[in-house]
Point group: C2
Amino acid sequence: MATIEDVAREAGVSISTVSYALSGKRSITEDTRRRVLEVAQRLGYAPKAAARALAARRSSIIAVTTPLHADTDQTAHMAFAMAVTRAARDHDYDTLLLVHDDALEGMRRSAATSLADGIVVLDVAARDPRADLARELACPVVFIGLPADPEGLICVDLDFEAATRQALDVLRAAGHRTVGLLAQPEDVLARESNYPMRIERAFHRHADELGLSAVVVRPEPAAPARAIETLLDDHPDVSVITVGMTPDPGRPPLPYDAFPLDPGLTCPVAVDLLVRMVDGAVAPAGVTLVPPVQVTRGSVVPVSRRAEVQ
Amino acid sequence: MATIEDVAREAGVSISTVSYALSGKRSITEDTRRRVLEVAQRLGYAPKAAARALAARRSSIIAVTTPLHADTDQTAHMAFAMAVTRAARDHDYDTLLLVHDDALEGMRRSAATSLADGIVVLDVAARDPRADLARELACPVVFIGLPADPEGLICVDLDFEAATRQALDVLRAAGHRTVGLLAQPEDVLARESNYPMRIERAFHRHADELGLSAVVVRPEPAAPARAIETLLDDHPDVSVITVGMTPDPGRPPLPYDAFPLDPGLTCPVAVDLLVRMVDGAVAPAGVTLVPPVQVTRGSVVPVSRRAEVQ
DNA sequence: CTGTTAGCGCTTTCAC
DNA sequence: GTGAAAGCGCTAACAG
């Protein structure tokens, strides 16, 4: 394991020159810079993470908490964790995985030991204990998702309201006059982050604004399919848009138009924010809503052309 | 952020005493030990990870590579990553997540910079480039899964052969004389780690040994259900056992008897092995097969009682 | 049982 | 543009 000293000696310069040549934090004669780089390369030199972290007072590591509620979509979690990891790498950060069992302990520990420079919280629940912890931790924390009370927190989430409104706009533009919402079951409403409620509210309000007649169908946890059947019984020819579903990177997407909850959209924003705070920027406590992006797959059919589609 | 020096001063001892009092690496008078602990507690002291890592030449971090093949079960990956994380915590290690995009680069980097003390490789493919890299890396690596050529590698996997044999034993004991194997599609066989082949081989061999007549049905990638129908057409009353399926922690298990590929079984073994190597134990290059554990859910019905079950 | 001290390998002033 | 040197905060000999 070559050290910076080996490189310095071999290149005939001081260690600070090596450090600067590699970090680019001060100007170096092009000639010596190349020489240093060449030697470093030849010796297979790479700065030790621990030494660098100790001296720079920064670990370049972001911790990620991913609780695993028994009923929550695991695949989505993985997608988010990976998206965060990817975004973090773009800023030269690595990500540490914290397990649910002791999310709180994990957050405390990584803050207290300076293991991580910041924390990203995933799968945020409405009443999430990590929210309170975050408020008292002297360590930057960003939530991906919105707890019931985001006061004093930094949160990033999809703009579900906008997505819902735009979905209605699309349906309306296609000539529909009745819109249905396949809502979340009661039990999910209670536990989950508040986005289902945000969707429902936006749905009703905007349907009103557009003069659409609005129908909400709420599945029973026991027989989820029943709700859909009910909807289809009344309206056999229906256009469909999904709002806030996370695409499964492993499977072909459902054939519906969508305003997806795309990890690739929210996670980079969250990581950007976090990195900026680590770099000492003032904490812009508040909620960042990421604008939705529509995905079209042909499940919205203009009313006028419905006959042809059959 | 209190340092070890603050604690030492406040407790009226030397810093080494503080260090040892906290690590327990040498005996300390019960009295001073308590005093040190009390002060540490009061000051909210926690050893900085970077300083500790630099001095101890050990980061207490394990890196985890989790490629995300488009077609592989994401949920399972998450379960494995979490199981590794949990097992690592039991040894006071944290886990770093490496992304697929540059699994190789990530492994190289965490080894070269001593970011991680060891690496766990998940979702091992038959011909996995990470296998070659592992052989040349001066860093302990453990594979969870078996590549085609495990030469010189340390691998942990479920004993699929044993699971298959035991499944046949169970069926045989229930009075069955014909056994069917719902095999993997060709395309999976080619890419995936070699466990499907191990299952098939063990299936044929042991069926022979037991004098059972063996039928293999291989689904077409395009129409997977067809294979099952074929099987059921010939044998409408069938007992079922699954081998090597990873239970989805988020959903109720399929109602079949099973010899599951349980992350909770393999991951702790792999982490134990890895930690031992980090601690300097000689690398026991080789394959560790974890014995399968049967889960009974009533899908195996004794032939003699079949009529009643209807 | 406890204290002293020499590093661990970098980053970053501070001088030149 | 470059070098010398002072830490960063801890662990682990080594010496009592």
